[in-house]
Amino acid sequence: MSSVANDSVGDLGRHVPALSSALRPHPLDELREWGGSPLVRGKRVLDLGCGDGRLALGVARFATRVEGIDPDPAAVAAAKRNARKAGVRNVRFAAGAAQHLPYPDAAFDLVILSWTL
């Protein structure tokens, strides 16, 4: 049930919650607990409070497309870098507030608030 990473936390995430991926469960472990890949497969997904893209990039392989949004521009920049590094093409990241989402009505099948609310 529980997951144990082998690398220790180091300094990452102690002071910058949005970049605290090292403190979080692996995205696939988290997804498995929620119900597994069928929850995401073929869906339009919004990762609200995406931080450095940990979860958005983790579930992208199953989803049709994933949008990640976070109020912290530095976190969004990190997410874009991580996406480029991982070669993931169906994910887009943007800076923005949860109270004013820049998407049309009914644009998503799944919204994820992972360690956000």
Partner: protein, 140 residues
């Protein structure tokens, strides 16, 4: 928070799913020493008062949008997650600097035991709760 959830409802297609996952502050976290097989509990780590208040506010926001008929609870649960540290000093530093938890663990082993194993690997084992909510069609 409620504003954000109303906005989430707007961008979700009817029948779409909202996943709300976050640390479960209703149960304590534990400081554990990694052993060759398994883990040994060394202490209890409580959530800070501020974070407890934040979590309760989040719970209230979710309850409100459910009551207002925007979402329907479909499923929920809890799982455990371990945050690893290279030694006891690193775990202590994390507790001291991180805002989520109180700054000191309540140790359940003696000073001598802690000193003896201070260079071993440690983890903080904490609960993560999640809930799946289905977006209901807007009544407007």
């Amino acid at each position: 928070m409620v504003d954000a959830l109303v906005e989430v409802h707007r961008v979700l297609a009817p029948g779409g799913i909202l996943v709300d996952a976050r640390p479960d502050s209703r149960v304590p976290a534990y400081a554990e020493r990694r052993k060759p097989r398994g883990f040994q509990r060394y202490g209890v780590v409580n959530t800070s008062r501020l974070e407890l208040a934040n979590d309760r506010a989040s719970d209230r926001a979710i309850s409100l949008v459910v009551r207002e008929g925007l979402f329907k609870r479909t499923r929920g649960g809890r799982f455990w997650h371990r945050v690893p540290f290279s030694d006891l000093a690193e775990l202590r530093k994390y507790l001291w600097e991180h805002l989520r938890f109180v700054h000191r663990a309540e140790w359940v082993v003696g000073v001598a035991t802690r000193k003896h194993h201070a260079n071993d690997q440690f983890v903080i084992r904490r609960a993560v709760r999640y809930e799946l909510l289905e977006a209901l069609p807007s009544r407007i």
